[in-house]
Symmetry: C2
Subunit: 381 residues, 2 copies
């Protein structure tokens, strides 16, 4: 099975650098992370996740990224599925290796959000949700996730404190991640006292606006063995889609794209949620992590709230040790690749103060829109 | 090797329908074109080329397309490389089948351009070229291709009449294509007398602004044999990239991405240009077809002008029998998939009055930007 042989990200945050500089920063770090060294010219295919929120170049931006990275002539395309863009870029980079047509591929993501005026940020972010019904009614992403949170509270008794616990946990992890946008801890009161963005979601229930890039280098079995003694294998992959608009779905408290993608990935890997030592989950809002914990089978449906409280009291680094979208940041098209970077470090024991002990199985969960698209990958050392 | 088992397109043109309707129209026609019938639910992966020029939905547009087409839950992503978007979508759909991970994939493209105001059309089209140097200097795509044409004339003596012959030929073919945007013949004088867009390119040297969608269904060997007695095999595939800006290239009269992609595709297929019975070439401007004829090896470098005159006097249906981007139209993200549709019909003998006799080998050539990205596919019956 294909393996990740190198992976790295730029620091995420409000970065003054251009999209090109952020990409090169991540790419060069990823190449440097290959144990035995790598001539970048050996990379045969590149998949670049980008939503095109900012950065000045929209069409052909993927070719611009590989051009500035020095990957002359490489076959490259942009992969876009809103916030799941580089989850799918990684999926397709793995598939390309599995096809036998190439031995080394690049799965990347890059996004520049903070050079836009706020009105444009809102516009661009909005266009990944259902434009026809939700956006014309004024429902932003915070609005759609607030609907899910409200329904989850009504059906399952989930509390604002449980939502806030996700933020407290992920900020705690981000505080130990030098690449995170927010490297500061927050307490429950700070989260609960922050202003309401879309009831019941407070400011600290929401991920930030982020610039950043991330790269993962995928290799065939044979080439992986040549390049490193500690490859991170791609044991399972799943992907699915759902309706864009919430009103077309059976449930407001379950993302079918997540359940489908998770089942596929676990089945291919021959593993189950209890086997997962470390998971990077798509916590664009705190309710999203609770839904993911349930939809992926870590907790029973409806019990994600109490489950998160148990996690925080116990083995809390198991979920979003990087800080997640919430604290590490959420540069839309770079987020999925950024999750692979964290798992690469965790499964090789290189995660420093946020290292999960004896991490052998990792899971990455990347969602586009309000759940319209999703990828899940199971990685093993 | 994977095969195309069904393919169809919507009529291209200035269409009042929404992007969603255009996509469904092409998808249903593609499903209907499968000889033994196809339950669409069997499709496992979808790749949708779209530049996002218009249509109201930008992020997650690929998931919206499969949603309206009834492909519930399917793994889907948007593939974007400017005007080569669905050439790469097709490449990746083929790769997915080759990976062994799935048996049936959809390669599609859709674009809605005519619902934008003209100022937005110019903006959106511009963003696929180099933004930093060319666009800030006012160089549009017509401008960059005009530079290539002027250099070709200076270096090789190519004449305005030779450029115009490409338009005359492709309009002649479009006149016999009920799916073409322009179904009318033009003569040399009309082309040469039309107003100058960017010297030396006249109005009739340029492709139009087009709405449309196209779909191709790709199957593994085993499933192809189940679904049809006349599969169209994907014998060779190539893809490459180049710098976005012309000033960074060695030559203004050669697209290295085309030469590289062409060599790869011919090598994999074990075929050469003389084996090609029918080719769909990326003639966004008349000079682009002349460059493609040279860069793919149909003519020697510099002799594309006289070569096109010979073609027009002789076996002219060999190149762009559909009418090409020039007359069939150029709905950016749908163009590459539309080329596959034409080859599917040609290689199965279903192309009606524009049928190439005994067509056994076809080639599709799809370019993004001014040559920054390119795919070439060789198909055989």
């Amino acid at each position: 099975m294909p393996a990740v042989v190198g992976a790295a990200q730029s620091p995420f945050g409000d970065r003054p650098e251009t999209l090109k500089r952020l990409f090169v920063e991540a790419f060069e770090a990823a190449v440097s992370s290959v144990d035995e060294g790598l001539d970048p010219a050996r990379i045969e295919e590149a998949y670049v996740g980008n939503l095109g929120v900012g950065g000045g170049q929209l069409g052909n931006v993927a070719a611009l990224m590989t051009e500035v990275a020095g990957l002359e002539g490489v076959s490259v395309r942009r992969v876009e599925d809103a916030c799941a863009s580089s989850g799918f870029a990684f999926r397709d980079a793995v598939r390309a290796v599995e096809s036998g047509g190439c031995d080394l591929t690049l799965a990347a993501g890059a996004e520049k959000m903070n050079d836009l005026e706020r009105v444009h940020q809102r516009y661009w972010l909005g266009v990944s949700g259902d434009m026809e019904w939700e956006r014309t009614a004024g429902a932003t992403f915070a609005g759609t996730y607030a609907l899910m949170a409200a329904r989850h509270m009504a059906d399952h008794g989930t509390t604002p404190e449980q939502l806030a616990t996700v933020a407290v946990k992920n900020h705690d992890h981000g505080a130990d991640n030098p690449k995170a946008q927010f490297q500061k801890r927050v307490d429950l009161e700070t989260v609960l006292d922050s202003f309401v963005v879309a009831d019941p979601l407070h400011l600290y229930d929401c991920c930030p606006t982020t610039d950043g890039a991330a790269c993962a280098i995928v290799a065939s079995d044979a080439v992986a063995d040549e390049l490193t003694d500690t490859p991170v294998r791609v044991a399972g992959a799943g992907a699915a889609s759902d309706t864009l608009a919430l009103h077309d779905r059976d449930s407001l408290t379950r993302l079918d794209a997540t359940t489908d993608a998770g089942e596929q990935a676990f089945k291919q890997a021959g593993l189950s949620p209890t086997d997962v030592d470390v998971a990077e989950l798509h916590d664009c809002f705190t309710i999203a992590e609770i839904l993911a914990l349930e939809d992926l089978g870590f907790s029973a449906k409806g019990e994600g709230g109490p489950f998160v409280e148990e996690v925080w009291e116990g083995d809390h680094l198991r979920f979003n040790p990087s800080g997640g979208l919430k604290a590490k940041g959420h540069p839309l098209g770079a987020t999925g690749a950024g999750q692979i970077v964290e798992l690469f470090d965790q499964l090789r024991g290189d995660a420093g103060p946020r290292q999960v002990d004896d991490a052998e199985v990792g899971l990455a969960h990347n969602v586009g829109g309000s759940g319209a698209t999703c990828t899940v990958h199971v990685l093993t050392r």
